[in-house]
């Protein structure tokens, strides 16, 4: 089976941070980068489903920072990597990214596309489903178990309140994968070194036959401003030693219970 796995190198914000001057992003000085947690699970699912005869292609939309994330996936066992980038993508939202990914998936024509449910930084949960929309692929969101193989898959999807829906889906298809679905493998030092020898293609929009207008037209909205919420009324900050804080918490709880 051939599986394409879109992944994202996500920003991890320091505990204390500042916004950039234009107010639309966190100052990069306060960011670190790592592979999106959900993508650890989608890559693992892809490696398991593809098997020894199959192929896993990881793809990302991102600047040079994102190369590390692709290398992580290649070290774990993905066969090839594709990174799409040009400056015009800097403020691309989830749907614009999905539009770019759609062009990659069309080019690769895989049996299956596995996305993470969401990215831990933007938390839109839209890229995967948007991608299925652009490609008109059957899709299942929030998969917590996948089984089956040739031609179709049986997927358990997680619903609210602990409910599980079991879905049979024909291939090709797109799934978004939930954390905990498997035990992601790690790469040993040799595999990490060898990942640098694996094919890693870097493309711009033109290389995918896309124009800037194609991407802009797909976009769903524009980020105007980020702000840190003001501290609200009614919060009591507890200070002092652990024992004092615990005593105060006990008082508050007792207060509420007796009220």
């Amino acid at each position: 089976m051939k599986v394409v796995v879109p992944v994202k190198q996500v920003a991890v914000v320091d505990e204390d941070f500042e916004l950039a001057d234009d107010g639309t992003a966190v100052d990069p000085d306060f960011l670190e980068w790592s592979l999106n947690e959900w993508d650890e699970f989608s890559v693992e699912a892809a490696l398991q489903l593809a098997g020894d005869d199959g192929e896993v292609v990881v793809v990302t939309v991102g600047d040079d920072e994102a190369t590390e994330g692709l290398l992580t996936c290649l070290a774990k066992g993905a066969g090839r990597g594709i990174r799409v980038w040009e400056q015009s993508l800097t403020s691309a939202d989830a749907l614009a990214v999905a539009r770019v990914l759609a062009a990659v998936v069309e080019r690769e024509s895989p049996d299956l596309v596995l996305c993470g449910v969401q990215s831990s930084d933007a938390v839109n949960s839209a890229t995967g489903i948007g991608l299925a929309g652009f490609l008109d692929l059957p899709h299942v969101a929030v998969a917590r178990a996948i089984s089956g193989g040739e031609g179709s898959l049986t997927v358990e999807r997680e619903l609210e309140g602990g409910l599980v829906e079991v879905v049979r889906i024909g291939l090709p298809a797109l799934l978004t994968v939930q954390t905990g679905i498997n035990e992601p493998r790690y790469a040993n030092l040799r595999a990490i070194k060898q990942a640098r020898e694996k094919p890693l293609e870097v493309l711009d929009l033109a290389g995918l036959g896309l124009s800037g207008d194609d991407v802009a037209g797909a976009s769903g909205g524009r980020l105007r401003k980020l702000a840190v919420p003001e501290a609200g009324e009614g919060a009591e900050m507890l200070t002092g030693s652990a024992a004092e804080v615990a005593t105060r918490i006990r008082e508050i709880v007792q207060d509420r219970l007796s009220a």
């Binding site: 204390d16 035990e183 790690y186 040993n188 030092l189 040799r190 595999a191 990490i192 070194k193 200070t239 002092g240 030693s241 652990a242 004092e244 804080v245």
Partner: protein, 732 residues
Amino acid sequence: MARDPKYDILFEPIQLGPKTLKNRFYQVPHCIGAGSEKPGMQAYHRGIKAEGGWGACCTEYCSIHPESDDTSRVSARIWDEGDVRNLKAMTDRLHHFGALAGIELWYGGPHAPCMESRATPRGPSQIPSDFELNIHPRYMDKDDINEVQQMYVDAALRARDAGFDIVYVYGAHAYLPFQFLSPFYNRRTDEYGGSFENRARFWKESLEKVREAVGDDCAIASRFAVDHLLGATSIQVGEDGVRFVEYVDDLVDLWDLTVGDIAEWGQNAGPSRFFEENHEKPFTGQVKAGNHTNKPVVGVGRVTNPDTMVAIIQSGQFDIIGAARPSISDPFLPKKIEEGRPEDIRECIGCNQCISRWEIGGPPMVCTQNATAGEEYRRGWHPENYSKAGNADKGVLVVGAGPAGMECAMVLGKRQMSAVHLVETDSDIGGCVNWISKLGHSDGKENLFRGTARGLGEWARIVNYRQVQLHKLKNVEVHLNSRLSAADVLEYGAEIVVIATGCHFATDGLNAATHAPIPGADTSLDWQLTPDEVVLGDKQIGQRVLVLENEGYYMGATIAQKLAGEGKDVTLVTQAADVAGYMHYTLEAPMLHRDLHRLNVDIRTYTMVDSIEPGAVSLYNVWDDRHKDKVEVDSVVLCTQRLSNDSLYRELKADPAALEREGIEAVYLIGDAQAPRMIVDSVFDGHRLAREIDSPNPAMPLPFIRERRLWGDTGNGDFESQLLAPSDMVTA
């Protein structure tokens, strides 16, 4: 990052007579094994703390005269100009970093056995020491009193010349001034005995004379146990305790308050298994709370939490946060608060390994949490600074995330190795600490200091600190739930492999006493257990349990304490003169014995197990094996010897061609996997290898500087080349 404003109060200066303490962090006097004989160790150990932000650091107890000689324990000494010269190395270094230097002038009375000096200690009454074996003092007449007080004065003048800012008249821990004050030691009928004023007279006069001699130049401090914890027999805080503080308050610039005495000083330096943070508050806290002093007060209680420190200041308990063990565990504690990174504080676990080496007499201090403690000078180790390894381009695989493996991987990460993978079989890092820190019990009975809890929970800080650090290191990856075979290691792609796979308890009773298995011992049976199995709880334990304690440290006795606390009938057997002998050195023994006794544990010393059969264990006396006994039991716990888990190392080492083929340049074995040991030594082993990973032969420790006298050599190479002007002391 800037410090949290809620901690600003900790950084306020405090006036101590003629001297200004720059903040409220104060290293109270504590032993390290350096004294005046190892000036490099003394200067560098205290100096590191000054660099780490402590406002003042003190010597250990410092003998004022050969009549106060604690050999084989190591005190400082200020007997002559040679001692002045050696201790000046310490004061210079403290002053360079902006800290005050304190000296704790000490006369031990009968608690000083004078084994090196062969002198005769003097005391207020001829009552032998309750700390030493068979040491009687000479009764002090008025001339003796004058002579000893002159010793304090002479020592204080030398201390001033050595550059000390704070001069103590040390009366805590039941040393001479306290012996005069306490009716437990003082049975005199002259003007130095009887009434409170008479008993306080020696200490008061000594303070007056020392103040007269150096009070214009130095702050005068006194360390005072406000409560002897012996009830009406001796000093109680609510009686003579606060009365004495009021009586001589005008004569001191700083009170350093403690509790207890030297015979059971574990009530002051409380081990975490019995004493919680700030445990002395009910006693020492009364002095300021009752407005008994107008002078700054410093006190201790193994405080590592900056929020507790703030609460101590704001509640008016103390003015200054005193620390011995927390400053050993993390010399940079103040700086980490100041720099807004309290999560980096390496918190003391209260194991008292540091104290154990002083109690043993001679070896340098060690620390479970801080492997660099005592190594600052002789090995050149800094607790926070790490050089980039000469072979930093290498990739390292560390197999096993116990104390040795965690420490090794962390230090290798800080030495900027290109990639370090720490791979662990279990689902958490920590190794043996994860079950050892669960040892303990609470049976609802109060103990004096710790509420109802007894246990090793704080030992989990060994893991917590390293977990935070490993997470911060971008070049270190931690992988869990992953057991590596020799084939996995070979193909891992690491140039350097470190095996830290720990050890296991013997399952057949193999032990240090007989060097043989015990007939009938077999922990594959469901009624026989190794200590870890007791904690893991998969085996049902019967009502009548025999615990065999061959180890000599805490494990067997702690298992017995836990099971008895849970209501079992426990027989605790050891071949030695006492159970858990090493716990006397860690000051845990008195409280342990109280608890074992309270829980009706049947202790059999000088006793060994002959054989084990279902329902019964046969015992014999080790001095006369015709003296036998048989104990009926339902379960047996075998705390006998441990064995290294070294099969992975042996398998790798057996095939050098495979190692070469796979590009593995070296395989090292550390921690319990090399030889089972105490956790403090496992952490050291992992640290040592990582510090020396780029040495010519990392498997062999590099030599360390030995501060010994070279026969016929009048030079002082260490002092001239390193202490006088180390590169980091040169200021513009």
